[in-house]
Amino acid sequence: MSRLLVVGAGPSGLGCATELARSGGHDVLLIDRVPVAGGESGWDKPEVRDLVRAATGAGVEFRLGAAAAVWTDRRLLLTAPGAIRWVEADHLFYAGGLRPATASDLNIVGERPAGVLPATVADHLLSTGVRLWKRAVVVGDGPWAPHIAERIRGAGGHVTAVGAGSPTWADQVVAGGTGLEVLGSDRVHTLRVVDGTRVRDLVCDVVILASGPLPNRNVDGALAEGAPHVTFVQPLDARGIAPRAQAGRAIAAHWARTNGGNP
């Protein structure tokens, strides 16, 4: 019996863990930092509940509400309120989800004032129901963008999309240009779109970074491709619960085939 850890209980992690457990001969522990499965897809969707049932049925064990911090010498440091423990395992599958590109990823220069936020953060903040912004610039067309734009517009705000192709979710659409610059020393007041020698200033009270997605990587020892005894389960193109679960299953099946169950 080999012991396999899957970090991240979103759809891709659920699919991966289920497939590993079904392939036989493995003890599979599925871990997530929040106390429910589902990841960014949310715990209460019927499709997520189905995936959880399938995983449980296949014999996957769950450890929810525990964050993975370090993977070294085939040990994973797991942190949960009141309990920090090392867990031994033969192989780590990292399904830590996706994140928006940062200002640095996008080569955005200029000031660093209040009001420049990652899309994931904007999404959480908007979910409080408080009206936060009147004039938003959303950079990029990552999976968060439509939902965020909808919330801001629903609360009476105006949304400009930058570098997002021609989306239907914006009031105004602006091409990305060759460079973006943030202006404002207290709060952001302008996103400057530079295109060669031409400059266009977009007045705004928030800039939301929604490009990507890029893979989250935050477990030391499992940061980059090639890390020993690590397989990354972070499909970038699959969007939606079923396609992400399917991508997770495919990665697990490929691993089981190529490793013959020997981690």
Binding site: T79, G110, A114, T120, V121, V130
Partner: protein
């Protein structure tokens, strides 16, 4: 508006102002620190490379004496103040015969300052730091260079000062300084009047303006912008030492500096600007920073850049000023162009000596606190599995990239001089400092900060100057 009285009013909450306040707070003198921004350490003390240097300039200067007086004690001081510090050493790299000649000049100057220093051959350079370019023709080893967290240092000075009774007033920009007939002065801000026997001018880039308000020496100060690139610890973890370029007569150039967070800083550039609030990066300069750093350490070109930032250090017509004003006998200037962190402990003692010589009645106060309670850090704890015995919240990781727990964030939000913004939490804990730049944790930190500061999700401060909502 009521007037409160203090023996000393310190203007400026950077590393020097807070260090002076901390030193004075351990004496019988009463002290009040006035800071214009909403947090301590908002300008040069936040935006610097985090090096506690052993060598900065030629022998025979007060600055060199203060560096020498501070350097041996960093381990002891940082242990007491709960500030990350590591004496990892520095390696100055020569890439040409001309630079190698210049290294010899630097070696002689450093040695004359009493600094431990040694010339290395090309082979020894590579052995000391395998990441250095094979083009290095020689090197200079400076084993007493150390890396420090300058934001934690400034916050710790401020907190220990507060614990010992210093009053720290934030968001109080000095608007006027009036002199009274009894030889005291009244420092006037938008929110209060502070009558002081002595005024310490530690206003950094604003020191010229403060001196002018007090009718003091015409100090000329201006902002010198430096741009930096932060690279990920996947690369920086392999870096053993600080890698400096060869100092040329006119510039200290772009360096590669490991940070106490495990990342590395590339920079800084040096451009004189006029607006102290101009902290904008530009694409051309950032590209140049990476290219110049890659000349020293080629692997940085492939390293993952987490973020870029700019900060202004206080340039001036004099490199440093630690003296009583020539015109105003109760005004003491405490500024440094760039080595503020490195001189801060000794500069604080020197300032106390100056004040006492000028007539301040300050005796050591028995029972004054000399240390802050230690807040263990999940990321660097030798036995992380034991931390939940200290506080169960150590198991609640908030910032996944930097492994910052809720216990550490709660400590920052309840410190004697606490974080009052998302950025203030980052400065004190590193939360949000990692490769995802807060995409996973900023919402959580904003909720914790909102609760601690008693405001809603819209009014919580993102930076000290701006809120999350508009």
């Amino acid at each position: 508006m009521t007037t409160t009285r203090y023996d000393v009013v310190v203007v400026g909450g950077g590393v020097l102002g807070t260090a002076v306040a901390e030193r004075l707070a351990r004496t019988s003198a009463s002290v009040c620190l006035l800071e214009a921004e909403g947090d301590v350490g908002e300008h040069a003390s936040k935006g610097n490379a985090g090096v506690a240097v052993s060598y900065y300039g030629g022998p025979g200067t007060l600055e060199t004496d203060l560096i020498n007086a501070s350097n041996p004690f960093w381990e002891e001081l940082c242990e007491r103040l709960d500030v990350p510090y590591r004496r990892i050493g520095g390696l100055m790299v020569a890439l040409s015969d001309r630079e190698a000649e210049r290294l010899e000049h630097t070696r002689a100057e450093a040695a004359a300052c009493g600094v431990r220093v040694r010339i290395l051959s090309a082979g020894e350079v590579r052995e000391a730091e395998p990441l250095v370019t094979p083009d290095a023709v020689a090197g200079l080893s400076l084993p007493d260079e150390g890396i420090i967290d300058p934001m934690r240092l400034t916050a710790a000075f401020a907190s220990l000062a507060a614990v010992n009774g210093a009053v720290i007033r934030l968001r109080e920009r000095v608007e006027a300084i009036e002199h009274e007939d009894d030889g005291t002065s009244t420092v006037i801000t938008g929110a209060g009047r502070y009558r002081a026997r002595f005024v310490v001018n530690a206003a950094g880039v604003g020191a010229g303006a403060v001196s002018r308000m007090a009718g003091g020496d015409p100090l000329v100060t201006w902002p010198r912008k430096g741009q930096y690139v932060v690279v990920d610890r996947a690369f920086a973890g392999a870096l053993r030492q600080i890698v400096f370029c060869t100092h040329l007569p006119d510039t200290k150039g772009i360096n590669v500096v490991p940070t106490t967070h495990g990342s590395a800083l590339l920079g800084p550039t040096a451009t004189d600007v006029t607006d102290p609030d101009d902290r904008a990066t530009d694409a051309e300069t950032i590209a140049r920073v990476v290219a110049e750093a890659a000349r020293l350490v080629p692997a940085v070109a492939e390293a993952y850049a987490i973020k870029t930032f700019a900060a202004n250090r206080p340039a001036g017509d004099e490199p440093y000023r630690l003296r009583v004003d020539a015109h105003v006998p109760n005004l003491v200037h405490v500024t440094d162009r760039s080595a503020g962190v490195s001189i801060s402990p000794a500069a604080a003692q020197y300032t106390l000596d100056l004040l006492q010589a000028a007539g301040l009645d300050a005796v050591e106060r028995p029972g004054a606190h000399t240390a802050l309670p230690r807040v263990p850090r999940l990321r660097t704890a030798p036995e992380p599995e034991r931390l939940t015995e200290v506080d169960p919240l150590y198991g609640q990781v908030v910032c996944a990239c930097e492994h910052v727990s809720a216990a550490e964030i709660e400590a920052a939000l309840s410190a004697p001089v606490p974080a009052t913004s998302i950025d203030g939490v980052r400065k004190r804990t590193g939360a949000g400092y990692g490769r995802c730049q807060g995409s996973l944790c900023l919402a959580g930190i904003s909720f914790l900060t909102a609760m601690a500061t008693g405001c809603g999700p819209d009014a919580v401060r993102h930076t000290v100057r701006g809120t999350v909502g508009s």
